[in-house]
């Protein structure tokens, strides 16, 4: 069996500057895999390449065993990969409901609209109270919830989350990690990009560590926590 998502030897450039160097990793079905690393490590670039916003100059991406090549972003989501981008990118002048309706834009997902909406409101009850409010008027945490809710409206097989905890209050960060875990338990495969290393290690099944565009380390969360190199670099421990 092939993994749900497989990335091999991926290299990505911005103009002449190489941002990602021959990165390989894979995500098994129904697992939660995390990409961690400091700012500028290339994590967001990897996600943007998977969702076809960027083109790789080398390397291949396979989803369900099929190569993702020559796809456009709007095709990738139709295949079953939903990407919650960095900074959420909600439609701030549209209402909460309208944002969710657009989440279910791909034709194959529209018949399940009611069902998906109920699921979104079950996971994020606060959104139901804000249903006719403009997305731009929500708090930061609510906006992040809406961004995730909008993405799952497309019934993705693979959900890619880029820094869902960024800019949130600690209590909201905790809630966000619980929700991500709940989604994973419901059967969603998750590829999580995070700078919040501690909490990511606790919930992820497998963790890849990137540094300046290259894959540096990988392992199960618990193994990485005990790895002295990793401790020094990412957990702020003096070993």
């Amino acid at each position: 069996m092939y993994p749900l998502l497989e990335v091999t030897q991926l290299s990505v450039f911005y103009g002449d500057a190489q941002a990602v160097w021959e990165v390989s990793f894979h995500v098994e079905k129904e697992k939660m895999v995390a990409l961690v690393g400091a700012n500028g490590a290339g994590k967001t670039t990897v996600l943007n390449t998977i969702s076809a916003v960027l083109r790789p100059s080398k390397g291949r991406i396979f989803f369900r065993g099929q190569p993702l090549a020559h796809h456009k972003p709007e095709d990738v989501v139709t295949l079953g990969i939903s990407h919650v981008p960095e900074g959420r990118r909600l439609f701030s002048r549209l209402t909460v409901l309208e944002n969710l309706e657009l989440g279910a834009f791909p034709a194959r997902t529209r018949p399940f609209f009611r069902e998906s909406l109920d699921r979104a409101f079950r996971l994020f009850p606060v959104l139901k109270q804000r249903i006719h409010q403009q997305a731009g008027s929500l708090s930061g945490g609510e906006q992040q919830m809406l961004a995730i809710a909008r993405a799952i409206m497309a019934k993705p097989v693979l959900l890619m989350l880029d820094e869902p905890s960024l800019g949130l209050a600690p209590v909201m960060v905790k809630l966000m990690f619980q929700i991500i875990q709940a989604l994973n338990r419901e059967g969603a495969t998750i590829l999580l990009v995070e700078q919040n290393v501690h909490q990511t290690l606790e919930i992820a099944d497998y963790v890849y560590v990137m540094k300046t565009g290259r894959m540096e380390l990988e392992g199960h969360g618990q193994d990485l926590i005990r790895n002295p190199d990793f401790q020094r670099a990412y957990l702020g421990m003096i070993g």
């Binding site: 969702s51 916003v53 456009k72 972003p73 709007e74 989501v77 139709t78 939903s82 990407h83 981008p85 959420r88 990118r89 909600l90 439609f91 701030s92 002048r93 549209l94 309208e98 944002n99 309706e101 657009l102 989440g103 834009f105 791909p106 731009g136 930061g140 906006q143 909008r150 497309a154």
Partner: protein, 293 residues
């Protein structure tokens, strides 16, 4: 006629005339919203529609207002074609090439029209062209009133489409953030085709309206594009009713300006107001500044 009723007359004429700017402005703001370019050829397309109406009327005697029904699908298809044939490829190269292309299209249309129909001004004369409705001392031209009603109807239809249909919502979302829209499965190509179709169809509406009320010549359109742009600036981007209100406001401003100062100042006043709005309220007079989160 007393000064008071003369002033009311000026206001009414301003509103009626401004609604036409408003319709053109909605089209301009839609295309700007999705493509981020000022479609400067909008005015030339409006004049093309005016000639189209004139031509159909002269050849077949079809009532200009019925010509609207003919014009709408034709200009919708034209808008789709302009995007698919010209702008889709060029847009990939960036905004400046698209802007140049729009400018080139404008010059091409102007010259084509002056070649086909001669540069002499044309006007449609029907039995109702000079008919006015009297309300006491106030006179309302029948054709201008029709133009106003058509403008309101067109605005209402576009508004309903944007508010009620999934594609309308997709266009609104995409105008705010095209990348986010594409990540949800909304194809930028189809959004752009749609905004071009609606924008050019609205130019068609404005063209029919122009043909029934005013004389026009092939070069009249550029000024129309500028006025529509001013109306967009007044109304704020991304708001259908805002663009219409912006157009009406511009019509009022020009009417009152010509009455109080002189007709020659009308354009200077509207451009001055344009600069003031851009400097002081770049989000438009009716627009709320969107909070960056």
């Amino acid at each position: 006629m007393s000064a008071g009723s003369a002033f009311i007359q000026i206001l009414i004429n301003g509103v009626l005339f401004g609604s036409m700017y408003g319709v053109a402005a909605i089209g301009l703001s839609l295309i700007f919203g999705s493509m981020q370019i000022v479609f400067i050829a909008q005015g030339a397309v409006i004049v093309l529609a005016a000639y189209f109406t004139y031509w159909v009327f002269t050849l077949t005697g079809l009532e200009p207002f019925f010509c609207l029904l003919l014009c709408l699908p034709f200009f919708m298809a034209l808008g789709w074609g302009i995007y698919a044939g010209l702008f889709h490829k060029v847009a990939a190269a960036g905004k400046n090439p698209s802007l140049l292309l729009a400018f080139g299209l404008m010059v091409l249309l102007q010259n084509l029209m002056s070649f086909v129909w001669t540069p002499n001004p044309r006007a449609i004369n029907t039995w109702y062209t000079a008919v006015g409705l009297s309300f006491g001392p106030i006179q309302i031209s029948f054709t201008r009133l029709m133009v106003f009603l058509i403008s309101i109807a067109a605005t209402g239809l576009v508004f309903l489409f944007m508010k009620k249909t999934l594609w309308g919502k997709a266009v609104r979302g995409a105008c705010e953030d095209m990348r986010a829209a594409s990540l949800l499965g909304i194809s930028p190509r189809r959004v752009n085709s749609l905004t071009f179709s609606i924008g050019i169809a609205l130019a068609g509406v404005a063209g029919v309206c122009t043909a029934t009320t005013y004389p026009f010549d092939p070069y009249f359109g550029f000024l129309f594009s500028l006025k529509a742009l001013i109306a967009v600036a007044f109304g704020g981007l991304g708001s259908v009713w805002g663009a219409l209100m912006g157009g009406i406001l511009l019509g009022l401003l020009e009417g009152v300006g010509s009455y109080l100062i002189s007709g020659g100042w009308a354009d200077a006043i509207s451009y001055a107001a344009f600069l003031l709005v851009i400097m002081l309220r770049p989000q438009g007079l009716f627009g709320k500044a969107t909070r960056a989160v």
